[in-house]
Symmetry: C2
Subunit: 435 residues, 2 copies
């Protein structure tokens, strides 16, 4: 932990080498998968014009936007004109509006990087955290939904998360469901928000909230919750939804997705899940969530949102996408990570007259791709320098004292076994490279 | 260009795929070199507490700091409590103060990422731009200076910049020089700032500024500028500096650096350069600058700054470092970059009934590492889909119509030659992989 005075600002983190390497590795394997799918990287500025962001996230969330004070003579006004990126989707809408025909059609892009939200910091909740989004803008094809789901699942596999399941539903199926149960359209949104809590609350509590807060009658609420949480919920839904046109359309798009993505994701790892709701009201078609064994909540999610890009200020184009919970994934992997070696070769410095020679052969080691460090401290004692080599978790330490120099040799010490060998200076790189 | 309404904020940029790939490539090769030297990555938050930054950069520069408005009930105060990172050095000082003994000794770190300055935007001058710093904190050894210079030169080589020279001088040599010429200590700093303009102004103009603005007498100013700009400036300096203790110490550290770094950098690419000044007054030892053929200004620079970490709020430790002008380097490379292929395989969709099969063999191509895309548009026409494949600059297009499906074959079209072959579905990945 950082001593308090020098801690990073509340809700943010300093990433030292070990953590940063895990993060960079995760981003890098995800990037590789997305590129294989033909998704293109996009990077937008850390801040946007304030008016680009405000009004896009709802009143409560607008309060969480970090705003940047005007500068120079305008600073005293206390007004803001810029704001830190709150997510990757509003910048995407702006980019689609800005570059239109310069972008491929459809525009398949991924974005990875920090976003900032002035949330109350807590365990696993940060004010600066990474998001990782993959989206297809400008295609209404069910193949696009399938591509997103497959890319997300492949990316999770590549990070090594392993044991996960993809839950699938459709916003149209949910609309059909409400229709069949006679829920009035104007309370439908609220009912879905409450149903979304089925993975956290007991069924009875959800029924109570549906009655108290969403004004459903008790019978309807119990039937709805009963069907969604039944052992045979999938069969019940398949029957019930047939009575609604929206329901039938929803079922068809769910089956389409299972059909197209199943073979890639693994048929046993993807399933229609009637109780999956996704509270966000911008979804218009299939929706999905990925859950991992032993983890509460989801590690990825997404769906089709055909009207969102327009609502965010972009053109009116169909779109779908997914988001990986990279911070949670990194958290999973960091705990598992072993302490790894930091460097290959630690070069001790025994003789001030031979510094140039030491630098020269170290340079050769680096050219051969060996991670090598020269001792930069002030001690002349070998024992102290070998302790430094051990602290750096080097595989080998090199000793080049007066005797070695006279003989044109370098002593190579294996830091695990303590074994020492003499190797001619001009064979050092190939010798160490070979081991 | 973005249509104006949707442009990114003034002084910032959206990076679409082609540009972003060049940037990421440059960062990646630099990272690899620094890691080979045993430098560790560090990433600090985008913003710091305001008090961490203010007063560290001088009054003029303080105005360029982007400040973040307080939130919630405090927003109306118009006050700021946070500010965007202005450079990588102040965060380094904070990290060294915060994590002390958890860090290796010395702490060799590199940092790459955006910084933000509310400068007036202009050609090649941005408000959000990348910095790339490499530093050794906690070593007074001349080897540390040499390691920094070698790492910077190796990194430049790795990016492909090629034709560059490393100019070397020493702050102590400059102090000795002023001493020998009888320049009063209290005007010395100003004299050096003026001498720093020798690479931009005519010698006569520099003499004039030394007389007018720095109150040197004309004879001294002319002698100083004359010696620094002479053909045999190096020889003159080597003679002159012998008359001062600081001068002799400076010469010794310059020669040490040339001796240690010369073999790695290339002896012909590094040289003592008496007119190199580096305006920044925090340097205490050797200083360097890297210049590239045909480019005004420098593409990298650095030196020893033994008292800066303490001045910035960190502990009092010796340190040295260098900074790569990554934006300039990226600019050099972007102009040279060729249009590259975007994807390996474009998969057309001729038959709605075979979508699942198309997805399945595309998935196989991706597993084999081929960058593959499926057509997501609405046209059923082959010609239109082949135009899409050409727009995507695919190497191959695949056609899987009813006839191919009946025969278990896929038609592979070479997008350069137009040649078409039929390949069994189950041999597709190995066939394309092999070519």
């Amino acid at each position: 932990m950082a001593s308090q005075q020098f801690e990073p600002p509340s809700g943010t983190r300093d990433f030292l080498a070990a953590d940063l390497r895990v993060r960079d590795h995760v981003f890098s394997v995800i990037r590789e998968v997305f590129e294989r799918y033909g998704f293109e990287p996009l990077q937008t500025p850390a801040f946007e014009r304030l008016e680009t962001l405000t009004g896009k996230y709802g009143d409560e969330n607008d309060k969480l936007i970090f705003k940047i004070l005007r500068r120079g003579e305008h600073e005293a006004s206390g007004e803001a004109d810029l704001a830190l990126r709150y997510d990757m989707t509003v910048p995407l809408a702006r980019v689609v509006a800005a570059y239109g025909s310069q972008l491929p059609t459809p525009y398949k892009r991924f974005a990875m990087g920090p976003v900032w939200r002035a949330d109350r910091p807590g365990k696993g909740r940060f004010r600066e955290f990474a998001q990782c989004d993959v989206d297809v803008v400008g295609s209404a094809s069910p193949l696009a939904d399938a591509e997103v789901v497959c890319a997300v699942a492949d990316a999770l596999d590549a990070t090594g998360v392993g044991d996960f399941r993809v839950l699938v539903n459709s916003r149209r199926a949910l609309t059909g469901l409400l229709e069949v149960y006679g829920v009035a359209a104007e309370v439908g949104g609220g009912v879905l928000i409450t149903l979304d809590k089925l993975d956290k609350l007991a069924p009875g509590d959800v029924v109570r909230e549906l009655v108290d807060a969403r004004s459903l009658d008790t019978l309807t609420a119990e039937a709805l919750v009963g069907d969604l949480t039944a052992e045979d919920a999938v069969e019940r839904m398949r029957t019930v939804l047939k009575d609604s046109e929206e329901g039938r359309a929803g079922l068809a798009e769910i089956d389409r997705l299972l059909d197209l993505a199943g073979p890639t994701v693994g048929v046993g790892r993807i399933a229609f899940t009637p109780s999956l709701v996704r509270g966000l009201d911008y979804y218009t078609g299939v929706i999905f969530e990925v859950v991992a064994a032993g983890m509460p909540g989801s590690i990825a999610s997404g769906g089709r949102y055909d009207r969102l890009i327009a609502a965010l200020g972009g053109p009116d184009v169909p779109a779908c996408g997914g988001s990986l919970g990279v911070e949670r994934i990194i958290g999973l992997l960091s705990n598992a990570e072993e302490e790894s070696r930091r460097i290959d070769v630690a070069v001790t410095v025994m003789d001030q007259d031979s510094l140039a020679e030491v630098m020269a052969f170290t340079s050769g080691l680096r050219s051969a791709g060996l991670r090598s460090e020269v001792y930069l401290g002030s001690s002349r004692k070998l024992a102290k320098q070998l302790k430094w080599a051990a602290d750096r978790r080097a595989r080998y330490a090199l000793i080049y004292g007066q005797q070695e120099r006279a003989e044109g040799m370098v002593t190579v010490r294996d830091m695990d076994s303590g074994e020492q060998n003499q190797v001619p200076v001009d064979q050092l790189a190939s010798h160490l490279r070979g081991r």
